[in-house]
């Protein structure tokens, strides 16, 4: 049994080194960001932990804290290149254990395309991880279309993942970790809707978008989006089919923290669209992710293998 984890993060060693030495790093001042113990592990320590979890491959993404879309694009572009080079080195040192997911400066679509192109075509990355929005703009905004076209042409995977703490829920109730436990999931549903209702999935039929956290509330809530599409003309400006018809155009990680939710996701989007993702090393990750999947009573062995590695191998073309 193999397992390939599409949702596993990295705090770059280059950042940790700079902070330890008290150096500013691409505009980040020493002390500006806290780093947990597991986040500062070396690739070798990470591999030890992967072994204990039964995870064969991490598709490594630099943490969402490093998006910095609101800062100067050139500065962040240089930061992202350094992050991506470090991830690349991990894939070179341990080609059987690591694949790369880039971070790209979305505040400048031209620079974002250039870095996606470099990471995918020169560094061999799978694609890039991006936020649910860019300084308030959602992905139906026409300014992003060249990026989707470029990603489609490259065969890159876009992994959508919120920036910690900054979801839609924070303004209503900042307590109880709801910005994460509800916020991540609603942000993902809005992103699904932005891609679909904005006509992006029609314009880019081969675009590969993977929605983290099981796509959030998308699959459960598609019925009400369909109703909105049926009765509201503003929901039909770009699309000729109801939003639920687009559910199987996306990929989803399995990070639902609920067996019935995962079962519903599989039944709604198709088993070939659900891939293994754990959120390593966050506390909101799945504790024993491979065991969790293997132990799910409502999934067949064929479904478990599809999730753990087969779908991802197909996506990676291996």
């Amino acid at each position: 049994m193999r397992s390939i984890d599409i949702h596993a993060h990295l705090t770059p060693q280059c950042f940790i080194q700079a902070m330890r030495e008290g150096r500013e790093w691409h505009g980040v001042k020493p002390g500006e960001m806290r780093v947990g113990p597991r986040n500062s592990w070396t690739p070798e320590q990470r591999i030890d932990d992967m072994d204990s979890l039964g995870v064969d491959v991490h598709v490594v993404s630099t943490f969402s804290f490093y998006y910095y879309y609101e800062r100067d694009a050139q500065v962040i572009s240089a930061m992202h290149r350094e992050c991506n080079d470090e991830v690349y080195q991990m894939t070179v040192d341990y080609p059987d254990r690591f694949k790369g997911m880039a971070i790209i400066p979305m505040q400048d679509v031209g620079l974002a395309i250039a870095e996606l192109d470099r990471t995918v075509n020169q560094l061999g990355f799978v694609g890039a991880m991006i936020d649910d929005h860019v300084n308030g703009k959602t992905y139906d905004d026409p300014e992003f279309m060249p990026l989707w076209k470029a990603a489609e042409q490259m065969g890159a995977v876009l992994l959508v993942h919120q920036q910690g703490g900054r979801t839609l829920v924070r303004d209503r109730n900042p307590r109880y970790h709801l910005h994460n436990t509800i916020g991540n999931l609603v942000d993902r549903a809005v992103t699904f809707a932005s891609f679909v209702f904005g006509g992006v999935m029609d314009a880019c039929p081969d675009l590969r978008v993977c929605l983290c956290h099981g796509g959030g509330y998308t699959c459960f809530g598609a019925g009400r989006m369909d109703r909105g599409w049926q009765v509201r003309s503003e929901a039909r400006v770009n699309i000729a089919q109801p939003p639920s018809a687009y559910l199987d155009k996306f990929y989803y990680d399995c990070l639902t923290h609920s067996e019935p939710a995962l079962r519903m996701l599989i039944d709604t989007v198709g088993i070939d669209k659900v891939i293994f993702g754990t959120d390593w090393p966050a506390d909101m990750a799945i504790d024993w992710p491979v065991s969790w999947i293997l132990g799910l009573e409502s999934l067949t062995m064929g479904e478990k293998e599809a999730i753990l590695y087969k779908n991802m191998e197909r996506l990676l073309g291996i």
Binding site: D140, I182, R224, A235, V237
Partner: protein, 317 residues
Amino acid sequence: MRSIDIHAHVTPQAFIQAMKEGREWHSLEPRPLDIEPELEWTPEQRIQDMNSLGVDVQVVSTGAQFYFYGREAQTIATMHRECNDEVRQMTLDYPERFRGFAQIPMQDVGLAIAELERSVNELGLIGAMIDDKVNGKTFDEPEFLPLWKAAEQLGAVIFIHQGGGTLVRPRTSDYHLPNSVGNLVDRAVTFASFVMGGVMDACPDLKVCLAHGGGYACYGVGRMDRSWDVGRLPQIPQPPSAYLSRFYYDCLTHSETALRMLIDLAGIDKVVFGTDWPFDMAIDWPVAWVLGLESLTQDEKEAILWKNMEKLLGVDG
């Protein structure tokens, strides 16, 4: 087969009259009426439509656009009394067809309690419909606890229904998403606020019904449980999912699989019939929809359509 609809709105005739006559109404400036034609219907016209839909009873709630929590409390308390008196008149004129929910001025908890008490004890209404938030405050705020205690003691049903400005709006106002996604996330946050704020522990007999099937509450509870597992919710003795069965939910999911999941997670005795009459986001043929669902047993359909609601109303003998 009976059917009792917990989610059906009314626009007060008093408001309609005032607007048509160009009169101010409880601080509302006169303006051209811009409401669904059905909302101007008389109770008799409404009953004809209910007959065509197979709906026997509507628990009528004055529309969410009349919350006005942002306005002066005394003025709105007076408005809400007039709304509630009109709803009461419908229940008197057609006791077999209408029950009522009150509007209560949530911007002043004392006034809200007083109007809830009057509505339940004097007017015979079954509870009150309220927003997911009050001027930015959620229901875990301690200032609301006296209201929950009063509702619990009165046996009142608190029906939660957003009043515009859902959480999605700051990100996008396009494609009807503030409604189609926003209503559902607002309801999940309200579930979480009641549970994680300790309200459901403090008020074990409080009856809260979450409109729109409770939104994303049931589907998303696994992730809330995870945050309890890792020690982020020390104030509650059980994981959030243990509280799912403490709430009621209407069946307005617009999805059979979602409704099936809601039943399986919350319990069939917690799901009641609700349609959102007369809005475009309502279920078109609601009784026929429930009756036609292949994944529900006949008993489950009857529980949803009327038996659970009769139990909630205390009319099941």
